[in-house]
């Protein structure tokens, strides 16, 4: 819409330019929001703010609500949730009714984790600016959208104005060339990226993931990679849309249909970064170097591969880093030098906005089929949405998990952040397909190791981490 400069632009530049409402050089730029997702935990105070100021919701049609963060997963009955969680869910339902916002409440066939349902309903579209009061909103960047998490004040700002005040971030390219080895998945790619660039590596940037290995990923895999961009400190992560993207979205509930879809494609095809576009920071990795990953510490950058060992704090030159590692190992109850394959687990969690999609469950079920969960392990599978649950049950995956001794649950965020009753007990060690291994994230004193769904499934069967490549 703006006259295009002749200089080559990145995909982020293009989406930014096409959403710039106002940039007077004095105030922070105002950008338009195409899609706003809300949930029960980060929205109540935003609605309360609107009410107190007597403001309206500007575009209720561009807003979609669901319940995910603290829903119970053993039942679909909101009354079974503990009182404070229930109050948040009831408050969301009441707010959506008052302001006329579409909501997929607990028990609705479209309910699920906000970053799972957006894409599967075609609410998520390439080229769109998508926001949500949740840091893992970066997931939607897999479609070539500019998607990022916002705070509750910003949720209120979007509800009231359908815009956001934002400063433009820098452009960063993370290129992964070559082909992934067998047994290496999108989760391993993004953990390896974070392990390489660090938790500050993406700070101040929107990351565009490029290269053969990224192109070869399914949309589900690309979502896993973009999902954890925030763990590298990035504003957002994105992948240029292509034929796979369009095929994924065609005929989805909220996606444009027919001629309108074709018109959309002709625009979406112009979004890819121009040849010669300048990235402020570039990182290149070889897919061939990436092995199955396992985190050993208390942030996602503290990661090694399945052939590795728990590091020795003494090996770190920087005193701050040495102290961090020492503290992390003390929390994790790990001794320096321990082989990753010697680490035993108590729990396995397969699910979350990172790895709760149907493809993740197919891979995990492939590992589990015909085998039994280790006697000392409690393992659970939490599908990302009701739709994923129906698909998994229809394909017989749920049966495979159940027969192996997995606990098969209803959709929600569940043990990824432990806001419902699905938590680790102090000292319990978990192989988890989620995104954060922070202290206490899955329960106070709980010890989280982030892995791919295949690795979590294999660990559940063996009671310790094993090299998934020997399993496939």
């Amino acid at each position: 819409m703006q006259p295009k400069d002749s200089h080559p632009r990145t995909m982020y530049d293009k989406i930014w330019d096409d959403h710039l409402v106002l940039d007077d050089g004095v105030q922070a730029p105002l950008i338009y929001v195409d899609r706003h997702l809300i949930h029960e935990v980060t929205s109540p105070q935003a609605f309360e703010g609107l009410r107190l100021a007597g403001r309206k919701v500007r575009r209720r049609d561009l807003t979609l609500a669901t319940m995910d963060h603290n829903v119970p997963t053993h039942t679909r009955d909101m009354r079974a949730a503990e009182p404070l969680s229930r109050l948040q869910m009831e408050t969301l339902a009441a707010n959506c009714e008052e302001y006329g916002i579409r909501i997929y409440a607990l028990g609705h066939p479209c309910q699920g984790v906000v970053h799972i349902i957006g894409p599967e309903l075609g609410f998520t579209l390439p080229g769109a600016v998508i926001v949500c009061g949740d840091s893992h909103t970066s997931t939607h960047g897999a479609f070539g959208a500019l998607a990022f998490g916002i705070g509750t004040s910003e949720v209120e700002h979007v509800l009231a104005t359908q815009t956001l005040r934002q400063y433009k971030a820098g452009n960063m390219e993370v290129r992964v060339e070559g082909r992934l080895k067998r047994g290496v998945f999108a989760k391993d790619v993004v953990l390896a990226i974070i392990g390489t660039i660090g938790t500050l590596g993406g700070q101040g940037f929107v990351i565009e993931y490029t290269g053969e290995a990224i192109r070869a990923l399914s949309l589900e895999g690309r979502m896993t990679v973009c999902n954890m961009s925030i763990e590298a400190g990035a504003k957002a992560g994105m992948v240029a849309p292509d034929e796979k993207t369009f095929a994924y979205l065609r005929e989805r509930e909220f996606a444009p249909k027919g001629a309108m879809f074709e018109r959309a494609i002709s625009y979406w095809e112009t979004l890819a970064s121009d040849p010669g576009a300048v990235f402020d920071k570039r990182v290149e990795m070889k897919a061939d170097d990436i092995l199955p990953q396992v985190t050993w510490g208390t942030h996602p950058g503290m990661v090694t591969d399945i052939e590795g060992r728990v590091p020795d704090p003494a090996a770190f030159e920087d005193p701050g880093e040495r102290e961090s590692v020492r503290r992390a190992l003390a929390y994790m109850g790990l001794d320096p030098g321990t082989k990753i394959t010697d680490i035993r687990i108590d729990k396995a969690f397969i699910g979350s906005c990172t790895n709760g999609r149907i493809e993740d469950l197919r891979v995990a079920a492939g590992v589990v089929k015909g085998r039994k969960v280790h006697g000392a392990v409690h393992a659970m599978v939490v599908p990302g949405s009701e739709q994923v649950r129906r698909e998994a049950e229809g394909e017989g995956l749920a049966g495979i998990f159940r027969e192996a001794g997995f606990d098969w649950r209803g959709p929600g965020c569940s043990m990824c952040l432990g806001m419902n009753e699905d938590v680790l007990k102090p000292g319990e060690r978990c192989a988890s397909t989620s995104n954060r291994n922070f202290e206490g994230r899955q329960g106070k004193g709980g010890r989280t190791h982030l892995v791919s769904p295949a690795m979590a499934a294999a660990a559940a069967l063996e009671g310790r981490f094993v090299d998934i490549r020997e399993y496939l």
């Binding site: 409402v21 980060t42 948040q88 009231a160």
Partner: protein
């Protein structure tokens, strides 16, 4: 939002990097539907030895007598990483923290601070080392944070100038302006943009359309 001009107060050191919002306010305390009352749960898992928050951990700086009443938090790299929860700045504010000084902040947390009248100050790592030494090295270490001058001043006469603060954000903070009120003044521009956008990219506005052709 309370305007921020010059703030003077006790500084408390939190000498560890990558302090995430799950630590600032653990998830079990996110279930309120108001913005107040989070202060008593600030850094809960580090501050208390029990789940109820009755038994203080004496090793944690916020519990130490010399730092009682602190309103300035010294932190390390990547402070506020993780979840977007605005409950983190709400908890800091409710506890009485008005300034966080660190070499780097996570993006969403940094934004959230400005919406709540908290000033996040970025200083170089070497300057942070000096500030940590200063605060840890004397009882009742008070700092003055002057937003207008963009300076942190210590009682020993040392001055730490900070940059990297957008003039608009500074102005909003100093005046306690309501961001939404400011944006709503641009309703005409928003509407004009929306019309252009809907005409150029109508496919973003057809959520309720019945399938065509």
């Amino acid at each position: 939002m309370e305007p921020f001009n010059t703030h003077e107060g006790i500084a408390v050191p939190l000498d560890r990097p990558d302090v995430d919002t799950d630590q600032i306010i653990p998830k079990q305390f996110l279930k309120k539907i108001t913005k107040t009352g989070f202060g008593k749960h600030l850094f809960h898992d580090w501050r208390y030895r029990d789940d109820e928050g009755k038994e203080e951990n004496p090793d944690f700086p916020l519990n130490q007598a010399r730092y009682k009443g602190a309103s300035i938090l010294l932190a390390r790299d990547n402070f506020g990483c993780g979840s977007s929860r605005e409950h983190a700045p709400w908890a800091l504010l409710d506890f009485g923290i008005r300034v966080v000084i660190a070499p780097s902040f996570a993006d969403i947390f940094f934004n959230n601070c400005f919406k709540n009248g908290i000033l996040p100050v970025i200083l170089r790592r070497e300057e942070m080392d000096r500030l940590f030494r200063y605060v840890e090295g004397r009882e009742d270490a008070r700092l003055t944070v002057d937003l207008e001058a963009q300076e942190v001043r210590a009682e020993d006469g040392s001055v730490y100038a900070f940059s990297g603060l957008d003039p608009f954000r500074k102005e909003c903070l100093m005046n306690g302006w309501d961001d939404i009120e400011l944006s709503l003044k641009h309703e005409a521009e928003i509407r004009a943009f929306e019309e252009r956008h809907a005409s150029a990219h109508p496919f973003y506005f057809v959520l309720n359309a019945t399938p065509q052709g």
